[in-house]
């Protein structure tokens, strides 16, 4: 068993250090790249503590039967393409919304459209 601190705690500490102590000293293109790097570390921190995939898997099983997360997502994608499943299929619209909101919560929680929808 690996010891503490957890990966998310370590990555967050690095991101905090870069944002608070290093970023103010860097300008220009390197400053831009540093902000991208900090954003990446913060995304990783959010994903390491994210539990949405458990809920998503349950929801997919209800719609499509048994299987793994990627397998069921591929099945859902195929059935939407073939027209077997569409927005009128019970539960599909809500599933797509919840799965998408869960992605945005990790990827881009400051995206204006996400903030608007998360308030609903």
């Amino acid at each position: 068993m690996q010891d503490e601190p957890r990966p998310d705690e370590l990555v967050k500490a690095v991101a905090d250090f870069l944002r608070n102590d290093i970023a103010p000293q860097i300008s220009g293109h390197a400053g831009f790249k540093l902000r991208v790097a900090i954003n990446a570390l913060e995304l990783v921190t959010r994903q390491l503590t994210d539990t949405s995939e458990t809920t998503e898997l349950e929801s997919l099983k209800t719609l499509l039967g048994d299987g793994g997360l990627k397998e069921l997502n591929l099945r859902l994608a195929d059935r939407i393409r073939s027209g077997e499943i569409d927005l009128a299929t019970p539960g599909v619209q809500e599933h797509l919304w919840q799965a998408t909101l869960a992605k945005l919560k990790v990827d881009q929680p400051n995206y204006a459209a996400y903030k608007r929808e998360a308030e609903k």
Binding site: A40, L43, T100, L104, Y111, A112
Partner: protein, 333 residues
Amino acid sequence: MSSASVAELLSRSVASWCSGATGVADAKRLSGGASQETWSFDIMHPGGVIGAILRRAPPGYGAAPGRAAGLDAEAVLMQLAHDAGVPSPKVLHVLQPADDLGTGFIMQRVAGETIPRKILRDDEFAAARPKLAQQCGEILAGIHGLPASGLPQLRRMDAATEISELQQEIDNFGWPRPVFELALRWLRDHDPGPPERVTLVHGDFRHGNLMIGADGVRAVLDWELAHLGDPMEDLGWICVNSWRFGGIDKPVGGFGAYDDLFTGYETASGIKVDPQRVKFWEVMGTLRWGVMCVGMMQRFRIGPDHSMERAMIGRRSSETEIDLLRLLAPRRS
């Protein structure tokens, strides 16, 4: 190539076509990948300094990739647009083999701002903002009105081809994208069919490619994705949420309403806008940007541009998924 040698070559070039020019100064590279570069420089002239921009593919990078119209076509289009009164930089010189600078062209440098955050928030642009959407409509009417006879060779695109290209790219991801599939399905079911007019389409008319000043749009840049097709494609593309930069309630570039854009277009062209057709292209554009984001992540994986920016753009594809759901499956508040 170093700044020094590009400056030297530019000095020699300007002497051959700009009468009275004594040299160039302040040559600096602005942006671009390996195959295409943009440089800014000043032409020294007794009558006053002339600000100029070089767009070129360096020697050895001749052919335009995939969808690009090619630098020669870009130069012709910009000149046509300029002559027709569309805000566009004047083309000063098309590169010749003797220039030894590769292929491309040199154009007038237009002062202004392209950074969306500044255009949408800074006081300097406060007076211009309410006018921009209508102006964009007028400019697009001008672009779509350029006579077909003078246009360079361009690829012809239509909705069905675009849909099948997007599907092919999504197939190559090897990663499930149920929301993208939903959008593909919607696009197939709502294809409005051939347009009444096939015109020049700018192809990338949005923030970043519009040089804007306190007085409004000063120049339309980057004609790389120009093609022939449904003119409503340009109106839909500038309304894609990704180009609103947070101003999500102002569909046109985060600065205006659909009606402003349509009024500008209709007044300048005398041609009625079909909002359903524009929405179709807005959905197509949203999906296309999402697919491009994933494509950048793939290029990050296979290299040679193994940059974290590309990797992170892959994580912006979910932004287009929420935008697609807002368009196709809106929730009640």
